[in-house]
Symmetry: C2
Subunit: 249 residues, 2 copies
């Protein structure tokens, strides 16, 4: 039977997983989805994921594809899979895509949100999805700093070295710092992100918000092209991969 | 040494606890706080709690008191206790109160919030703090229904029988149904609540929101004085005890 390529849009609470990608030392989101897919289809399936989120990072819309000869209609695979998945992983949507669609090697735009809870004392129900910062944060100054990062830049100062990346130029299309009461959301979109780039940007913006850095300092950090110039990497659990948008064909 | 009465304001994520009150079959919030207090002070302390929240219910501001001869200044007990408590329980504030202050037998007003996530598919990171309702909910109709419940009424139709309660008349001072995007918050304040009263009110308002009940039906349910007339008890995990306000002395 002819195989179809199926695209999954996936939401998860990353708290109980060692990130997305299959690895020997712990349960990962990818592994749990692979096992559920094998049970559902009877085929030996390993998905290809769009974004290898780190341990503790959450998602509303990560993307993965796989090829299958299953007779289940593509749009019904989501519901069938959800019955075989734990509560902290949800397939939001399943659909057939072109056989050459690849979730990583194509022109897409990703949006992340980073959530900060800015209160005197931590809020227990938010502890696994928000970075708790008890110091006053000046959101206006954070936005001024953020504005320097929008556009095409070499973001090597905002990248933790994991493997050798040749090209560290990326385009940030949107970077907003929004306060609603005690909650601060940093929303960032772009055509790709270096390893830990969002979390280092957040760690740096928090230093601006506390008054340790001027907003202009962020421009200097960018120009320094040196990871040591930037702030610390903000914790993983505040980060949420919101959406990956692919060009319409 | 003279004992002081100390009031604690307590926030917790109720997910991992069998409710507030000490019981033989599982770990409770009260028990964890008692153990931390005994370690901190060296005294044999059992707190008196204001509200015995059910298993899975969360709190931003539950209240408990205890008497102690500790030399730790009252306002510093919070921080000292937090170092001995797990991340899902936080003492927000500690303060000395009058020796005759009792958190239950006095004139106070409580505020609860009930959180609903109204999306087509569940959101994993919200699954432990929000009730997931995939059907469209008409918030305006829910508010119309809610308005019938404000004021002094016999709420016996909105009470699950646990023990014999003689007086089932209570006063609801505020009942608001607010939508912000996909999130619906039902905020209710009053001078006391019967067993499961907030969750039965929510279960009933959801039936109104789905169109199964007219808003006027809620008036009939109130007048029926019969638990069977009302809707189902909404799940515990959507409920948050926000605040308990005591009269200033």
């Amino acid at each position: 039977m002819q195989k179809k390529r199926i695209k999954l849009t996936i939401a998860y609470d990353g708290t109980n997983y060692c990130g997305w990608q299959v690895q020997p030392n712990g349960i990962t989101v990818e592994e749990v989805i692979n096992k559920a897919l094998c049970k559902l289809t009877g085929e030996d399936i390993a998905v290809i994921g769009a974004s290898r989120t780190d341990s503790g990072v959450h998602a509303l819309g990560n993307v993965a594809v796989f090829d299958s000869a299953t007779s289940i209609p593509p749009e019904r695979i989501a519901m069938a899979l959800n019955q075989r998945l734990p509560d902290d992983i949800v397939i939001v949507k399943s659909e057939e895509v072109a056989p050459d669609f690849h979730p990583r090697y194509c022109d897409c735009e990703k949006t992340y949100e980073y959530h900060i809870i800015n209160t005197r004392m931590p809020i227990p129900t938010k502890r696994l999805t928000n970075y708790f910062v008890s110091y006053d944060l000046d959101v206006e100054r954070m936005q001024q700093a953020a504005d320097y990062l929008v556009g095409e830049h070499d973001f090597v100062s905002f990248c933790n070295v994991r493997t050798q990346v040749e090209d560290t130029v990326r385009t940030v299309t949107e970077l907003e710092v929004l306060r609603e009461g005690e909650e601060i959301t940093i929303r960032i979109s772009g055509n790709g992100f270096l390893y830990n780039m969002v979390r280092i940007i957040v760690g740096t913006l928090v230093r601006v918000g506390r008054g340790f850095y001027t907003p202009e300092k962020v421009k200097e950090i960018l120009e320094a092209k040196d990871r040591k110039a930037a702030g610390v990497t903000a914790p993983a659990h505040g980060l949420m991969l919101v959406e990956i948008r692919y060009p319409k064909k």
